[in-house]
Symmetry: C2
Subunit: 297 residues, 2 copies
């Protein structure tokens, strides 16, 4: 594997997803202008776009049309962006810094940030209803159900609720895992599966992609916890050390730094193992596993 090759692959797709997000979000001069400006503020010009990259990588496996995958990726990224805006609100994590900028409710106001999140979720589903993502519209309805389930109370929003209930508690490693399977894992799995479903995905490929995404989603969170404990705020683009300060259970608090890093590496190996039967088509998924686990921000 050639890291430079992966970097240019990822950069090209980050540019493409940015252009699509830019295009599908209403312009700031269209009324209600303040809401639209705040929606663009919350989504554009920042973010690693890990979820769309996963969709692209899974789409390459199933020879999906990248113009379809980018819409699926944009929908997932909009759900992710909405969750960050709501998660940063005073009644949730009460954070002031995100992606190196003031959070949405700090830059605008709480009510606007609330509506930004609400409206971004709507845009995500609007895209999935509007653009053709699959040869069979019935398959596309399944994709919509998949994303809605991943975003909802048995997925991402449910993970946030478990997170709320866990503040100040010491969670066991299985309890932590359950929280993260919901909070970040569900949407990461949805990213990869939606990307794959934009192409010709047989059951064997979908199962492998799903298993890969489960492991890599958890690894992503473990690495997040390690970075929160280790990296400076300037590198992270969000407030570092926030987890410990808010007395939140993390992998670092449950396992310690050394074992957390070893666990992330173990999950990366599990993720790669799931891809073994897929051959060369899974190259980008393998490279993404490295990108996610070995990142420094």
């Amino acid at each position: 594997m050639n890291p430079a090759d992966f970097q240019s692959w990822a950069a090209a797709r980050q540019t493409r997803i940015e252009a699509v997000l830019e295009q599908v979000l209403p312009l700031s001069r269209i009324a209600p202008a303040r809401l639209h400006a705040a929606m663009r503020y919350a989504v554009l010009g920042a973010g690693k776009r890990v979820r769309p990259l996963l969709a692209f990588a899974a789409g390459e496996l199933t020879r999906a049309d990248p113009e379809r995958v980018v819409i699926a990726g944009a929908a997932v990224e909009l759900i992710h962006a909405y969750s960050l805006v709501h998660d940063d609100l005073p009644c949730m994590d009460d954070d002031v810094l995100r992606r190196g900028k003031p959070t949405c409710h700090v830059e605008y106001d709480e009510a606007t940030a609330l509506l930004v999140g609400d409206a971004l979720q709507s845009v995500a589903f609007q895209l999935l209803g509007e653009y053709r993502l699959s040869d069979d519209p019935a398959d596309q309805l399944d994709m919509i159900k998949l994303l809605a389930t991943a975003a909802g109370s048995r997925g991402m929003a449910g993970g946030q609720a478990i997170d709320l209930e866990s503040v100040g508690k010491k969670l066991s490693v299985p309890e932590l895992e359950l929280m993260h399977i919901h909070k970040t894992g569900a949407l990461i799995r949805a990213s990869a599966l939606l990307g794959a479903k934009c192409g010709k995905a047989d059951e064997r490929a979908l199962t492998a992609v799903d298993t890969f995404a489960k492991h890599i989603g958890l690894a992503f969170q473990v690495v997040d916890d390690v970075l929160d404990a280790e990296a400076p705020t300037a590198t992270l683009g969000k407030t570092a050390g926030k987890d410990a300060q808010q007395n939140k259970p993390t992998y670092v608090s449950a396992l310690g730094l050394t074992d957390s890093k070893a666990f992330a590496e173990e999950l990366r190996q599990d993720a790669l193992r799931a891809l073994a039967p897929l051959g060369e088509g899974a190259l980008r998924l393998r490279q993404l596993a490295d990108f996610i686990v070995l990142r420094r921000f």
Copy 2:
């Protein structure tokens, strides 16, 4: 028209929509239990279900299968219920009473109420992806786009944003109308159109239903403003006199009580006129116009 007949028609459909909402919302004993209990609290056991009734009435016009219409109606009602939960939050209208009960954030807490709204929006789209609503899945994708657009920043959420910007201002009647076309009108139109699209809807019927719904949506809001000024809290099930207290622009503040009532009646006549070409199939839509404009709660 026989009022007793309409009342039993509406009651049967209110019972059916309640049963479906009860069934599609996750049980309170399923984790995360507090979130699921709060979602059920916010949706079940109250509400006039005006939007699902509109979907049913429009569905009768196009001979739609009521088992399809009830899913479309449930999806719209879930979007409506989420908007009420978020609208009542301290950073928005800061209200403590809704449908005769403490609002969701008072009964639970702000963070839970935020997640309740987020998750209810996801359930709405999950239903539209999961159940068969149209013979042609491509038409169903259009229905999803329609609901997402009506809920988003150019529809309901956008109306809330215009509302926020208007507090303390004196709006002209056209400005008020623009706000309400977004805030309540978009979702009411979507209700009627989705109901119609569950059946065989030709362009002529869709145009008539849409025009009807535009007028009746605005009438609904004018009547809301009149009731807020006139009715006691106990009858409304929400805090009365709130608009004047919060210095919100309303039809009553713009036109006065007498002219507001006359305007509501004018809109009802406009709505009925739109249905004229449709004959007997539009009976329930006509009765609903009366129900909405002549209601006392």
